[in-house]
């Protein structure tokens, strides 16, 4: 890696973020909470910086594994939806 590209990676350019900036914002990037412009800059950095790219990959795996635990009791959900439907049932007699 040339000293110029290393400099850009550490300090950033108008089109790509710096390592420091990415380390602060990678979670927001993975959660789609950045503006389109900032997201593009972070994405560009992750494509070129192996270290930051691997870090993002690790956090992405954590998010994926956490999301798999998002189980909801189907019976409880069914009961609550039945309640919601009955409250909104326009054919039901008014209480």
């Amino acid at each position: 890696m040339t000293s110029f590209s290393l400099f850009n990676m550490v300090f950033g350019t108008p089109s790509t973020a710096s390592c420091r900036h990415v380390q602060r914002t990678v979670q927001s990037y993975l959660d789609n909470e950045l503006s389109e412009h900032d997201a593009q800059r972070v994405s560009a950095h992750l494509r070129t910086c192996k270290r930051c790219g691997l870090d993002a990959s690790a956090y992405r795996s954590i998010k994926k594994a956490l999301h798999k635990r998002a189980d909801v009791d189907p019976q409880a959900l069914g009961r609550l939806r039945d309640l919601g439907e009955s409250l909104g049932d326009t054919d039901a007699t008014n209480q």
Binding site: L54, A58, L77
Partner: protein
């Protein structure tokens, strides 16, 4: 207390029903939708309109409400009770909803409902060691079949790692990654700035990653 438009619901006005139930469903302090700053005065509506609005805005959000309730409470049965109470309050207050940002409105109702439920059962909470430890759900300590591959081990380790997080970090990580809330929705629900949510997400996931690394699981891998 938000104003309630009076109109007939059977033989009693909605206001009478709301005030009668106020001990169970205290006043909803709805500060308005996140993006705009004011709640529009509710027009006079029929009971049919109210029910239609409830079906349109509230029922689609029930699953998210249950997920969030699981994060806010210590037992699955408490989560279901919380959502049930919140649905009834939402039905009573649907006239005051301006049709914008239903999820944020419902989460605010759930938050107020849970706060009031905590106030009422606080003496029991102090005696309940599980509640004092803020156990969200039983940790999946089974590590499964050791020959099943690293996928089972990772999931089991993740389950332990998240249980070991500080309650503030765990709650935010669950709201974002399990319940699918945005930072703004989580901030509104917990009554904290969005920056606090960002910080807790970052610190929570960093701690999870450190725990995994300390137990021999390095997630850094090249993307395909």
């Amino acid at each position: 207390m938000a104003k309630v438009q009076s109109h007939a619901v059977g033989t009693r006005s909605a206001e009478e029903v709301f005030l009668e139930d106020s001990d169970h469903y205290p006043a909803i302090r709805w500060a308005g939708p996140i993006q705009s700053g004011s709640v529009k005065p509710a027009p006079t509506t029929t009971n049919k309109d109210r029910k239609a609005a409830f079906i349109r805005h509230v029922v689609p959000e029930i699953e998210v409400m249950l997920r969030v309730a699981r994060t806010l409470t210590s037992r699955p049965s408490d989560a279901e009770d919380l959502v049930q109470d919140a649905l009834l309050r939402a039905f009573n207050a649907i006239d005051n909803f301006d049709g914008q940002h239903p999820r944020a409105w419902l989460l605010a109702i759930m938050r107020n409902t849970e706060i009031n439920r905590h106030r009422k059962r606080r003496p029991e909470l102090l005696d309940d060691p599980d509640a004092a430890d803020n156990v969200v759900k039983p940790a999946s300590t089974s590590f499964g079949d050791p020959q099943a591959g690293t996928e089972v081990t990772l999931d089991a380790r993740i389950a332990v790692a998240i249980e070991r997080l500080k309650p503030d970090f765990r709650q935010v990580v669950e709201l974002i990654d399990l319940d699918g809330l945005t930072y703004a929705e989580a901030a509104e629900l917990l009554g904290v700035p969005t920056g606090t949510i960002m910080s807790r997400v970052h610190r929570g996931r960093t701690q999870i990653r450190k725990y995994l690394r300390d137990h021999g699981i390095d997630l850094r891998k090249d993307e395909p």
